[in-house]
């Protein structure tokens, strides 16, 4: 098992900078996720850890060993590819045994180990199947078993669930977590799916345009995003521009001054600012609400999703607000077209710098 230390990594492909000045430390045994939209540099970073790319600048270290230019076959990482990359001409057992054969283990040892790992991923019954005869989920397990069989120092997962259907994805999420806990192995997981990231990770690094935006636990990232990109990419949120003057936040869109509990970080004083408030934090009522940040609006669209109800409320022309409430019975649903009163609780509002205004 290893800790991974990336220091000041930059990767360029020709003129395009895929990853820029990345500093990252992943602890031993940690489940660490790279999260971001496509083309943000997360897979490039993973491939630099696996050794398929060498960084243009910077260093990759496993524990204290410098691995920056070590070829992939000497890194002892186990990688699960997005398309699984199973060897199509081999059986399940042969696929799993491949890495062990390369390591010149004894025949009996290999057999034993293959059985053990396939047992772990619950595929003992399919040991002699051809991989093409397996379903997507089963192929995924073979890919996992193959990577785990070599007892890698680090397990690398490149969007492993993106080819599975929704139900199977839920199942495999639990499965991967169980295996990771079983083996206690340092795991790096690449995904663009925020639900996967939030539900599985010990820590998450959010990427955008080759830069790491924020590193933190799922709760930190969700509750205290560092900027409007992170706030918007992870979960739903309502974002409004605000102007800061004399310790007050004036929001032109809402036409009012917004009270925020947390004082503004001094470093953000001269930046463009936004307030972010999650839909589930907003209080809605058809009766009068007193207190700070109270607003009026008209219900435009009500979407029923089962566990929750999403409501889109129009405050004034062109200004809208998303609200999510738990399903507490049909009498609580709002009717479209009804006037309502809202309140944005000051302790739930975050003030973040804006980095995406240019777009």
């Amino acid at each position: 098992m290893s800790a991974v230390n990336l220091s000041n990594i930059t990767k360029k492909f020709g003129d395009v900078t895929a990853v820029k000045e990345l500093d990252l430390k992943i602890e031993e045994g940690e489940f660490f996720t790279f999260l971001g939209p496509s083309g943000c540099g997360k897979t490039t970073t993973l491939r630099m850890i696996a050794g398929f790319y060498y960084p243009t600048a910077g260093k990759v270290k496993f524990n204290d060993r410098d691995m920056t230019t070590v070829p992939p076959e000497k890194r002892n990482t186990g990688m699960v590819f997005q398309n699984y990359a199973l060897f199509p001409h081999m059986t399940v057992a042969e696929n799993v045994a491949f890495g062990l054969k390369v390591r010149k283990l004894e025949r009996s040892k290999i057999k034993e180990k293959v059985k053990e790992v396939l047992g772990k991923v619950r595929l003992e019954k399919f040991i002699d199947r051809q991989v093409s005869q397996l379903s997507g989920g089963q192929q995924q397990r073979v890919a996992l078993a193959r990577a785990l069989a070599i007892e890698p120092d680090i397990l690398l997962l490149d969007e492993p669930l993106s080819n599975l259907d929704a139900r199977l994805r839920d199942e495999m999420r639990t499965e991967i977590l169980r295996l990771q806990r079983d083996y206690g192995i340092t795991t790096i997981y690449v995904t663009h799916d925020q639900v996967e990231a939030l539900s599985m990770s010990d820590r998450i690094a959010v990427f955008n345009e080759g830069m790491c935006q924020q590193i933190g636990t799922p709760t930190e990232i969700y509750n205290d995003p560092v900027n409007d990109f992170v706030a918007e990419f992870i979960g739903e949120t309502n974002l409004y521009n605000v102007a800061y003057k004399d310790n007050r936040f004036h929001c032109a869109a809402l036409g009012m001054e917004i009270q925020v509990e947390k004082p503004l970080d001094e470093r953000l004083r001269n930046q463009e600012l936004k307030i972010s408030i999650r839909p589930e934090a907003i209080r809605v009522s058809d009766e009068e609400i007193t207190g700070p940040n109270a607003l009026r609006g008209k219900v435009k669209i009500v979407q029923f999703t089962g566990a929750a109800v999403h409501t889109l409320i129009e405050l004034s022309k062109g200004v809208q607000l998303k609200v999510t409430t738990l399903n507490e019975g049909s009498f609580t649903y709002l009717q479209e077209g009804v006037e309502v009163v809202l309140q944005l609780p000051p302790e739930k509002i975050r003030v973040v710098p804006s980095i995406r205004e240019r777009a």
Binding site: E73, K74, M79, P88, F98, G99
Partner: protein, 561 residues
Amino acid sequence: MLNAEKRKTALLLVPIILVLAGYVLYPSIETTIESFQRDGAATLKNYGDFFGSKASSNLEALWNSVYISILSVLFSALIGVPLAFIFNRYDFPGRKFFSGAAIMPIVLPSLVGVMSFMFLYGEAGLVPNAIKDLFNLSKVPFSIGGVSGILLVHAYTMYPYFYMTCSSAINNIDPSLEDAAYNLGSNRWTVFLKVTFPLLTPALVAASLLVFMVSMASFSAPFLLAGGFRVLSLQIYFSKINGNLEMAATQSVILSVVSISFLLFMRWFQNRRDYRMASKGIGAHRSEVSNPFLKWTMVCLGIVAMIILLLPHATLLILSLVPEGTWTWQIYPTTFNLENYILLFKDTSIWDPVRNSLFMAFVASFGCFAFGIITSYALVKRKFIGKNLLDILVMIPWALPATVVGMNLILAFNKPTPFSFGQTLVGTFWILPLAYFVRFIPLVVRSTSAVLEQLDDSIEEAAQNLGAKWFYTFRKIVLPIIMPGVLSGTLLAFVQAVGEFPTSVLLYTLSNRPISIEIMNQLRMFNLGQAAAYGMIQVGLIAIVLFISYKFLGVKSENSM
């Protein structure tokens, strides 16, 4: 380290470049140099002679080649395209069988095909004579020869190019596109004109270019049927036979320029790929013919077409059973037995050409096999500067007419060179295997590249990630996966080498006389039975190889060209 990767690529490229430079580039250059020489001095005289009034036959031959090729394209298209539509769009009894039989012309090697056409429709052919006999005519009503003969043979042997490319294009058309057009209110004719036909254009253009090139290069048909008619590929042969190597070189250069510009044009056209289907995994969509009259008319037409298509094969088989000296003045042969086949094993002078062909084809295809694997791998999976150039260089032997390849080798190796280890190769046994090797490199490279392109990079990366070194990965992962593609290409190279005529006729010696030369000799001695028996061996080999490729290597027949 990056350098290690680059070193590996360089190591792969060294043998590839050596072989291509030595056996493709250098011979072409030698020919070009030769074409600018007259009596040991550099001059433009040869070209002056070619285009000048002094030898108008050359210009006439060039013109003939071009116009025969254009007509061949037209006739092949007129047969191939409607067939492709009928067999892929309509369902009627026997459709599957007919569509399989429609590609039967490809199992006839060119020389054998021409031969059976002569047996059938020539001056002494079975069909004209049978008609004469039936209607008590004083003369045969028709016989093929000259331009009509060449065109008939070309249409017969080349329409499969249109049939196959069109069939696969038709099957790739997403039916919902046409449904969408109907839904928007178009009638059948508009849908065909505005939707289906434009979607087929790339396939039609590709097939046209292919047929044009193949018929520019065609040698066997003019060789046996032309009479006094001149075409450029044949003129090269005559110049060489007459000992005028400089003129042969000049004619080769001009034919090469035409062919290579077509190759470049085709590459450009294929890379354009305007119409890619957005949707994948389309099921066949055929409409059942329900009108019984129409249905049975189609079946009857199908049967008649099949008879015409398979007549050459049948003739070949029947004639191969006619022993020597039993069919002289009679209209039809009377005696049939297996003597011609038995002689193959009894008489060493009859068996020798077969052995020579098999051995030389084996050596050549083995070379293609090894070279093809390395070259495809480098071209598909490695990055390096000049890749496009290398790709073109590999495909050049495919674009060059066989006669030109033969001439190139003659002019390059009629003296000791480093590439022939200081030996003069012309006039030895080894010049022919070398010619076959050069001719069929592109076949193996293409079929190998097709499978390699399917192989996702992540498969190799996965092996590497699990700790396998490059060579181990190549041996245990890449090779087994691509083997079917490599083998099908190699087998095809093998049978084509067994049937190869144009280079053989330019380069053979007494010691390596292959089957096709012996067929020619037997024809000259009017021993048709033995010639047909030799032909049957070639046909049988091709049939076996196509069957193996189809059954065990998972290759579709349309990819086998």
